[in-house]
Amino acid sequence: MFEPFMINAWITASIVAVISGLVGFFIALRGQAFIAHALPNGAFAGAAAAGLININPLFGLGFFSLLGAGTIGLLERKSKRDVATALGFVLLLGMGALFLSLSTEYSQQIFSLLFGEILGVSPSQILPTAALAVITLGILILSYRRLLYTSVLGEELSQKALFRNQNLIFLLMVALVTTMAIPVVGTLLLFTLLVSPAATARLITKTPKTAIAASVILALLMVYSSIAFSYVSNWPVGFFIGMMGVASYTVGQLWRKLFA
């Protein structure tokens, strides 16, 4: 399990888990799991487009996740948040369907992007992942307090001009995490890591700081044990992490009902 080729997987998983745990806290606080699903899945169109014109999928993912974040951010100013997310999402998916149908690439490659291949991460992929992680972390630290305030406030207040920028910063962060994580862990792993640890953490803690700490620790525990289970059983990592997410969240709900 700790052979040289697995070291890359452990390092990459650690980076993705820490950043997902941090950003996930705001996703759970804002109740925007839909965004965590929409941007990673929608940015898929970018990978398909990159395959079509033969460039590094990282650029395609980056461009389309930013495009999606921008579209949803602008729609949000005039629409309900969930409607804006849904429409931005299906637009990206529609483009993805077009690019996929035009490209002649083998569907297995697309399939691996959907479910990820963390066990096949190469050393050259670690550097861009780490760089994007640092940028995301920087944005998060700089806007932590404001993001916290606007996340706690209701949707109608966050539509006021003063808070609009915070919405965009939040969306930008999710777009960056998407670009960073999809090539190495796939959409499914990223989505679960963004939502489940933070959702559970919020149920068992009382202050933002302890919630963030618990979220990061849970994300790391989940991803490490999933990789270990997957290594032993050969079943997909996504299965274990998804099941652990549901289990920990259900336990968290029971915990809250019993002790809070």
Binding site: I27, A28, L29, R30, G31, Q32, A33, F34, A36, H37, K78, S79, K80, R81, D82, V83, T85, A86, L87, F89, V90, L91, L93, G94, M95, A97, L98, L100, S101, L102, S107, Q108, I110, F111, L114, F115, V152, G154, E155, E156, L157, Q159, L188, F191, T192, V195, S196, A199, R202, W235, P236, G238, F239, I241, G242, M243, G245, V246, Y249, Q253
Partner: protein, 301 residues
């Protein structure tokens, strides 16, 4: 005649594939329009989309077990709705997060089923079909089943219409009348589960979500009362399906030649543009504002 051929390629109206696609597509569009209107009013777009993805997991399980995929879709959707109700979450934000956690679990299960499936039979073409679906590969023999499902979904909406409407627009008013908004919520989730199972398996998850949310969101802006909202959303849905299929048929002669562009791309584009237009036609009327429907609760903090 040549002018007409420029718009409609010859053979469009005589092809049985196109006829089936249009019948199922329009039927789905109308049901999605009605169910979607409540989905938009109740801010449950995520649930609407999540059910189409979660249904895929049920479909994959049914495929492995050798039973018709539609049953897998319906069963897992109803189970998911039931589980979410059982958690008894009141806050809208927490509901969204819980939906996300369950969706993550369901997608994880799907990845396992697909893994088991491909290692057994190695058919990744089936996998992609299950994920993306296609309106042009529907067998006309399943039409009666879809009509039955559509009718059942609409029945749940019609039977609880007044309560559901009140529960969606002003749950407090319903509580004042000593009625729980939860009952209407459950009836709605059953209708949503059925409608999404039907549309996801017939036309794929992309179009399922697009038809559920897009036309309804546009119609809520345009309509003056509920009747006109339903008329607008059904019309927008049906027209976008019709022109989407038509353009896709025409695109057979566009570059790259003799390949054809996907229906979902055209339908989604038409719906998105229609929605953008409604944003500029008329400002949002006050009674549908999120301020009204998304009152922040202290439990959200």
């Amino acid at each position: 005649m040549s002018f007409l051929h420029a718009i409609v390629e010859p053979g469009f109206f005589s092809s049985s594939v196109i006829a089936t696609a249009l019948v199922i597509g329009c039927l789905t569009a109308v049901v999605s329009a009605v169910v979607g209107t409540f989905t938009v009013l109740r801010s449950q777009s995520f649930m609407g989309h999540a059910l189409s993805d979660i249904g895929t997991t049920g479909g994959a399980a049914a495929y492995l077990a050798g039973v018709p995929t539609l049953y897998g879709f319906i069963l897992i959707n109803l189970a998911t709705s039931g589980f979410l109700e059982a958690l008894g979450i009141k806050s809208k934000k927490e509901r969204d997060v819980a939906t996300g956690v369950i969706l993550g679990g369901a997608l994880g299960l799907a990845s396992l089923f697909l893994y088991l499936d491909t290692t057994n039979t190695s058919t990744s073409g089936d996998t992609m079909n299950l994920l993306f679906g296609s309106i042009l590969t529907i067998q006309s023999s399943i039409e009666p089943l879809f009509i039955a499902l559509a009718a059942l979904a609409l029945m749940f909406i019609v039977a609880t219409y007044r309560q559901l409407l009140l529960a969606s627009l002003d749950p407090d008013l319903l509580r004042v009348k000593n009625r729980s908004p939860q009952l209407a919520g459950i009836a709605f989730l059953v209708a949503l589960s059925l409608a999404v199972a039907m549309s996801a398996i017939a036309i794929g998850t992309i179009l399922s979500t697009a038809l559920l949310i897009g036309p309804a969101a546009a119609a809520v802006r345009l309509g003056k009362n509920m009747r006109s909202v339903f008329v607008y959303s059904s019309t927008i849905g049906v027209l976008s399906i019709f022109f989407g299929v038509l353009l896709s048929y025409d695109s057979y002669n566009w570059p790259p030649f003799h390949h054809g562009w996907p229906v979902s791309f055209f339908v989604v584009s038409i719906i998105f543009i229609t929605y953008l237009v409604t944003l500029f036609i008329k400002p949002r009327s006050k009674s549908y504002s999120p301020a009204h429907l998304d009152t922040p609760r202290s439990t959200d903090v």
